[in-house]
Amino acid sequence: MTSFLLRRILQMFITLIGISIISWLIITTAPGGPISLTMDPKISPKIIEQMMKNYDLDKPVYQQYFLWIKKLFTGRLYSFKDGRPVLEKIWERIGNTLLLNLVAMTIIFSLAIPLGVFSARKQYSMMDRLTTFGVFLGLSIPGFWLAYLIILGTVELFGYPVLGMRSFVTEGFGAGEIVMDRIWHLLLPAMIMAIHGLAGLSRYTRSSMLEVIRQDYIRTAKAKGVPEETVYYKHGLRNALLPIVTLFGFLIPGLIGGSIIMESVFAWPGIGRLAYQAVLARDYPVVMTINTITAVLVLLGNFIADLLYGVADPRIRYQ
């Protein structure tokens, strides 16, 4: 187990270095510096040069990379845009993103698995066909478009604020009402973010389930006289859910990618929006660091999925 962990961690570390180098290469080959973005007649070119120097942008590319690493680990990496430590900027937002993603993930898993299981149980039934079609709709719908329509709908229907993490006029709210308000603001974006994953996962669950119930051990269980339902839900489900555990790791990149759009649409103060703004402003330190951190999240997600798989599947023992 320990040697497995060590091996995995080493592997993750190598991957990480690869990630940081690739993102650095991509960013530095781009046109458009971080400072030249202001078109203010009052800024003189001399000042811009001085600022480039202050940010080490006059140094060769490879040096900038090592400077970035060094600064990141000493906490002295500052955003071009507002001069704040990059880690601090990310830190104050990452919780919000994780919260949103966690809720989305919870929605995905708590709805997709039952949906997939039930529609596999009644394969080719009306419900199965409807679900299948719904799944494809979910996979095909442009999230931001749906978000706009839903926001518009709720605004017209309820006249209650939807954007941001909370309402701003909460005078006279009790604790319960504040909680409800927070849930409301969380639920809408999380639901829309969840749609894609929900569709994919329920589809996956369904086919996994269908595959499992063709297995020999299902027949064995039936031959033992185990009732059909129990066979399906006890012997089938557990086996079908094994590969789904690993999907936990695969869902993360999609969700984070989706955060960029959804956080912008719902005015949600998370790293997706920070990333987008940093891209717009060519805020290299922030873009680099978010790239790296999201990659770390993905790596961690895969790692956790591996560990979970080991717990769930007795056949796997890490050596």
Partner: protein, 544 residues
């Protein structure tokens, strides 16, 4: 418990939460609170006036900090803020002496003095400070503290825009002396002298300021201001409709609908800026003035204002916003006149020789690329219309939109463009030296490479002259010259519109000390000029 039952639990739980939540949301009563909720597309970056560049930061800074002086409500003159009065001594080396207000307190209780002003100036001039404001003060020879309440600056040469630069927010020396100004936590937790005290800044979500009880003009009437960050205009509109936002910048197409909403009031005021088509004068196509004039005649600017801006804009004839004193009303905008345009083009040698509908000269057709930046709907739409209208003149225009930084770096700054649609936002001072002086072609903002010796001379004179009447004559002359030269096709100066919830009133002290509630008015200096006197009465005092 059976597994099947277990599987049902999460979806049911989810539906219950959703249901209860929808119930709650549909039952919530509207509230009326003595606060103002504003919204901005972007988050602030530095709550420090010497570092801030973006409008969100500037907005907050204007609540928290004061300059020595500020523009009056008509943007014509200055009134004192931290300076009670000032004195200008003209001459080869002019001096401005500021007499500061006594007893002004920083939000932390320390007293404000001339040392703070000097400190602010020093920090701006410090090379290590990442500020873009340094060029405002480059002509300052020295800045001295004469006594705690007197501050004097001496200029190397006459520089009339210099006075306006002292509207810059003053930062507290005692808190920043030992800090790295670029990275100090102060930039997120500012302490100023202004009417509102900083309370909290939740990144990308909101910035909250509250009334400053020790404000030297008296405590503002509003309890607090919440500045929300909503990254998309159409989304702030939705928040406005749910009363999650109190004020909102109305786009022209929304005006009609907004003005029909009973809890809103719409205000409009010409903006301090204009939109133009800039021609790269290094490109031989545009070097002939007649071509540029022809283009201006060929572009139906009235139609653009009418349809793109729904009438909320004014066609301009030169490089100034039309409602300010330095705009020369005698210069009339070129009328839309396709005939004249064609004649001018013919004069310049451009005729449709081969009958393909495109004008040509020496066998070469008139063909160019018009570009603008993405993210600005008005410019995008103007571009499409201009492309069509020039096509009717017989010019083959391709229109392309680029993302802002690519646009700047690859095209504008590289002077690698034919023509572009852009806009300038200006300060109330008429000095346009950086945009039009030929010395600014290489590394300044004269990216169209406009060069006119007379304009150069006038621009230099204009910055040296302190007398408003004389300055007016100078800038009127500049205006005339530029209207002839047409280095840009000056399109229009838009009219800005704001929607505000009609619960706000303006408080005035009546003759016998009672409070009088007035409707809120918009000034040339903007809707928020009297923000400290805004108030939300508990009972509905006035209805629309």
């Amino acid at each position: 418990m059976k597994i099947k039952t277990l599987l049902f639990i999460p979806p049911i739980l989810f539906l219950i939460i959703l249901g209860v939540n929808l119930l709650f949301v549909s039952q919530r009563p509207p509230q009326k609170v003595n606060q103002l909720i504003m919204s901005s597309i972007g988050d602030a970056s530095f709550l420090n006036p010497i570092l801030a560049q973006d409008s969100a930061s500037s907005d907050i800074n204007s609540f928290v900090f004061n300059g020595l002086i500020k523009y009056d409500r008509d943007l014509q003159d200055f009134v004192g803020e931290l300076a009670e009065s000032w004195k200008i001594k003209a001459g080869e080396k002019p001096e401005i002496t500021f007499f500061l207000r006594k007893g002004v307190l920083w939000h932390d209780g320390k007293e404000f003095t001339a040392h703070d002003v000097k400190f602010t100036y020093d920090k701006i001039m410090d090379e290590k400070t990442n500020t873009v404001r340094r060029s405002d003060y480059e002509l300052v020879e020295k800045a001295e503290v004469l006594d705690p309440y007197t501050f004097r600056v001496t200029y190397r040469q006459p520089f009339s825009p210099g006075l306006g630069t002292w509207g810059m927010g003053i930062i507290p020396k005692h808190l920043l002396e030992k800090e790295d100004i670029n990275t100090t936590p102060f930039n997120r937790r500012p302490v100023g002298t202004g009417p509102f005290r900083f309370v909290e800044w939740v990144t990308d979500e909101k910035i909250v300021v509250e009334a400053n009880p020790t404000y030297f003009h008296g405590k503002p009437h509003l309890d607090r201001i919440i500045y929300r960050i909503i990254p998309e205009v159409s989304l702030s509109e939705m928040e406005l409709l749910t009363k999650g936002v109190d004020s909102y910048g109305v786009s022209p197409h929304q005006f009609r609908r907004m003005s029909e909403i009973d809890f809103l009031k719409i205000y409009s005021q010409p903006a301090l800026g204009y939109t133009y088509i800039g021609y790269n004068l290094k490109n031989p196509l545009f070097q002939d003035r007649r071509v540029r004039q022809a283009f201006t005649h060929a572009v139906n600017r009235e139609e653009i204002v009418q349809y793109v801006l729904y009438g909320f804009g004014k066609v301009i004839s030169g490089p100034f916003p039309s409602h300010l004193w330095y705009y020369n009303p005698n210069v009339k905008p070129f009328p839309y006149d396709p005939q004249k345009a064609r004649a001018l083009m013919a004069e310049a040698g451009w005729k449709d020789g081969d009958g393909d509908g495109i004008l040509d000269k020496d066998g070469k057709p008139f063909r160019f690329k018009l570009i603008t930046n993405s993210g600005n709907d008005v410019r995008r739409d103007v571009g499409v219309l201009v492309q069509r209208q020039l096509r009717e003149l017989g010019v083959d225009v391709t229109f392309e939109v680029y993302e802002w930084s690519v646009f700047l770096k690859n095209f504008i700054n590289a002077k690698h463009f034919d023509a572009c649609i852009l806009g300038w936002g200006l300060s109330p001072d008429p000095d346009d030296y950086q945009i039009w002086h030929s010395s600014q072609i290489e590394k300044g903002f004269n990216f169209v490479s406009y060069k006119n010796p007379e304009v150069d001379r006038l621009l230099e004179e204009g910055r040296k002259e302190y007398d408003v009447e004389k300055r007016k004559q100078i800038y009127w002359r500049i205006h005339e010259r530029m209207a002839e030269d047409q280095p840009y096709t000056f399109l229009f100066s838009p009219i800005g519109m704001s929607a505000l919830q009609n619960k706000f009133v303006l408080v005035e002290d009546g003759p016998s000390g009672q409070k009088i509630y007035q409707p809120i008015k918009i000034e040339k200096a903007g809707l928020m000029y009297d923000l400290t006197r805004w108030y939300v009465p508990t009972k509905t005092v006035m209805e629309k």
